[in-house]
């Protein structure tokens, strides 16, 4: 740091009206590097003296950045005055905030890839389920199929409803109903996912009078509750972008309103709508909590497609429960199995 404190005035051979009273161009970079080096040296001394075991790289960067904030403020205060000093301090803080936010993302991606890659590279990962697997081995086929099925059914339910509601809001909706729908769609975006799962459970356990109901279709319903508002919002934004001239041209040619929407408005905004649907799928495909509630829960997840019971009676299986006396054993429910495509089932490892 001491190397840079001398530079501000030494760099300038003559007083320049535009550069006078300012820190030189790259001073922030030098001060930052100097701060890191100073704290690095401090930690190196600590390590060599035996106070800490190993070189503390996190501490170096952290305290170095703190030192930088202090140093740049002091330097700038001395040379440029309090206003610019404050400006530089805020710049440093804002940039630090951004970098700090990136760290979890990088750490997350790194951890997931490093720890997950060996699992994916096992030959049976995509081809086998955990059926009859004790200990290591098997694959995640059951989970992949279950994820795709439940998300697929949820998409089939949400997209027509969401798209039609968006069309109502942009093309037909006037007055109170439209206002109410817009407002509550926004509010619905914030429903906790677990509440959606509880709703699906409350709904189906009342309808089927089964206090322990668990099935995949209920999970799809719960995901739809989360998905519909996202579809509505994104489709509505896209439909609003369609120029009114296109609609008016169609009306002028005598095209009915519904055909105008189907043949003119929707094709024009198709790309955006598809993007919105993909975003909504990405929101629900990783949902966990609602599926724990309505589709079931185990020590480890076992998702398997259930064949129609009349095709293959073993499609619905009973498993011994891992913790006897608790929870719901996988009681076969052929009626439920026929309607659903996937369900969690208790599985004993």
């Amino acid at each position: 740091m001491s190397s840079t404190t001398a530079t501000p005035t030494a760099n300038m051979p003559q007083a320049n009206a535009y550069a006078a009273g300012k820190l030189p161009k790259n001073s922030t970079l030098y001060v930052l590097l100097a701060s890191w080096i100073v704290t690095g040296a401090v930690f190196l001394v600590l390590q060599l003296s035996g106070a800490t075991s190993g070189f503390n790289i996190v501490g170096t960067v952290f305290f170095g950045t703190v030192l930088y904030c202090v140093a740049i403020y002091a330097l700038s205060y001395a040379v440029e005055g309090v206003r610019r000093a404050k400006d530089r301090l805020v710049t440093a803080l804002v940039t630090t905030a951004f970098v700090v936010a990136l760290l979890p993302l990088i750490s997350l991606v790194f951890t997931t890839v490093v720890n997950g890659l060996p699992g994916i590279l096992t030959p049976t990962f995509f081809t086998e389920s955990q059926r009859n697997v004790v200990g290591a081995g098997g694959g995640a086929l059951h989970a992949i199929i279950g994820t795709l099925l439940i998300t697929g059914v949820a998409t089939l339910i949400s997209v027509p409803i969401g798209l039609l509601a968006a069309i109502y809001l942009t093309e037909y909706g006037r007055g109170r109903l439209a206002h109410a729908i817009t407002f509550f769609v926004d509010v619905m975006t914030g429903i906790p996912s677990i509440v959606a799962g509880l709703f699906a459970f409350a709904f189906f356990s009342l309808i089927f009078n089964d206090p322990g109901i668990r099935f995949g279709f209920g999970g799809a319903i719960a995901l739809s509750v989360l998905m519909i508002p996202v579809v509505v919002r994104s489709s509505e934004e896209m439909l609003k972008l369609v120029p009114n001239e296109l609609r008016e041209a169609a009306y002028a040619l005598g095209v009915p309103k519904w055909l105008t929407i189907l043949k003119v408005v929707l094709p024009t905004s198709l790309a955006g709508i598809v993007t919105g649907i993909m975003i909504s799928i990405s929101r629900v495909i990783g949902e966990t909590a609602p599926l724990l509630i309505i589709s079931g829960f185990h020590g480890e997840y076992e998702l398997r497609p259930v064949q129609p019971a009349d095709d293959d009676p073993s499609g619905v299986r009973v498993h011994p429960v891992r913790e006897p006396g608790h929870g719901h054993p996988g009681v076969p429910r052929p009626g439920v199995g026929r309607r659903t495509h996937a369900r969690f089932d208790r599985h004993a490892p």
Binding site: R83, R84, K86, D87, T91, L93, V94, T95, T96, A97, F98, V100, A101, P104, S107, L108, T111, T112, N115, G162, L163, L164, A165, I167, Y168, L169, E171, I181, F183, F184, D186, V187, M188, T189, G190, I191, P192, S193, I194, V195, L198, F199, F201, S205, P211, V225, I228, P256, K257, W258, L262, S282, G286, T288, A289, I293, G296, F297, G327, H328
Partner: protein
């Protein structure tokens, strides 16, 4: 066909296609309202037994529903509050960085990177919290307790695993960051350029321009964005359920192994084992959570909508 239409007034013919289509859209729109009403209705019906449940039905020695739900509601609000204290300043900083500090060419790309965080499923955050964050911060917690143990929030004994409510708050903060950042960024970008240029022309530094033009303009936007983030933090389930080992108590200490859990995490952990009235009790706690988040979201949306009507941006 026109000759059939009455002479004095040209009327749009009632085409069946139009009627069917417009009815379908109205029904879909109303269905959304119906679903929201159904969520509230069915949860209410199913939670009625919980309000009159016998003391024996509650786990953990509670005697009635309200004493059971209070520590959970406290844990929910406490963890969300801690998360917001961490997340809001960071989010405003990031949004400012993207909207006003980053070089123009890379600003859009940076915004996209932050949005990527929103696409990470919460289970992955939970796993990351257990596997990476908790062991990483545990030594810091130990130091905090050693040095600042006299401060009530940091009182010991320190948790040996690092899986405390502060860790949960950090994970929650990371999860709500993208939402708050995205909204704040939009608001900051809407600041009329004339205001910014005018203050710069008067000799303001960049920070003075931001504090005098951008932040006042975006204040209500920041508030509503924070409330939307708060709604998300309140309802987050998996990250909390995975990281915390709960104890149903009201505790403010951040670093001990005794931590209040949240409503959502409590449901996720206990639901599979629940039976009888226990299910209704959990559903009732879910109803409480629903009411809290609904209120937070409605206030946030109300502020946003009111802002839209009066803002100079449109």
């Amino acid at each position: 066909m026109t000759s059939v239409v009455a002479r004095d007034r040209i009327r749009t013919p009632q085409r069946p296609g139009d009627v069917i289509f417009s009815t379908a859209t109205v029904v879909s729109g109303s269905l959304i309202l119906a679903v929201l009403a159904a969520v509230a209705g069915f949860l209410l019906i199913q939670s009625l037994p919980a309000f009159v449940a016998a003391p024996a039905d509650f786990s953990g020695g509670f005697t009635n529903f309200w004493s059971y739900v209070w520590p959970l509601a406290f844990g929910t609000l406490w963890s969300a509050l801690l998360a917001m204290i961490i997340a809001i300043p960071l989010a405003i900083g990031i949004a400012l960085f993207i909207s006003h500090y980053a070089p123009r060419r890379i600003a859009a790309g940076l915004g996209y990177v932050i949005d990527l965080l929103a696409a990470v499923p919460s289970v992955v955050f939970g796993l990351w919290g257990i596997g990476v964050l908790a062991p990483l911060v545990q030594p810091f917690y130990a130091n905090l307790v050693d040095w600042f143990g006299w401060f009530p929030l940091f009182a010991g004994p320190v948790s040996g695993t690092g899986r405390t409510i502060l860790t949960v708050a950090i994970v929650l903060a990371v999860m709500v960051l993208p939402i708050i950042t995205a909204l704040c960024r939009e608001i900051f970008l809407q600041t009329p350029v004339l205001y910014e240029e005018a203050s710069l022309a008067l000799g303001a530094t960049r920070w003075e321009m931001i504090s005098m033009a951008v932040l006042p303009f975006g204040r209500s936007g920041i508030i509503s964005a924070s409330m939307l983030g708060l709604g998300r933090a309140l309802g987050e389930t998996m990250a909390v359920a995975m990281v915390l080992s709960p104890s149903p108590t009201v505790l403010f200490q951040l670093l001990t192994s005794q931590n209040p859990t949240t409503i959502a995490a409590n449901i996720a952990l206990n639901f599979p084992e629940a039976h009888g009235v226990g299910v209704n009790i959990l559903l009732a706690t879910g109803l409480i959570l629903f009411v809290i988040t609904l209120a937070v979201n409605m206030i946030a949306r109300y502020i946003i909508n009111r802002r839209k009507a009066f803002s100079g941006a449109n």
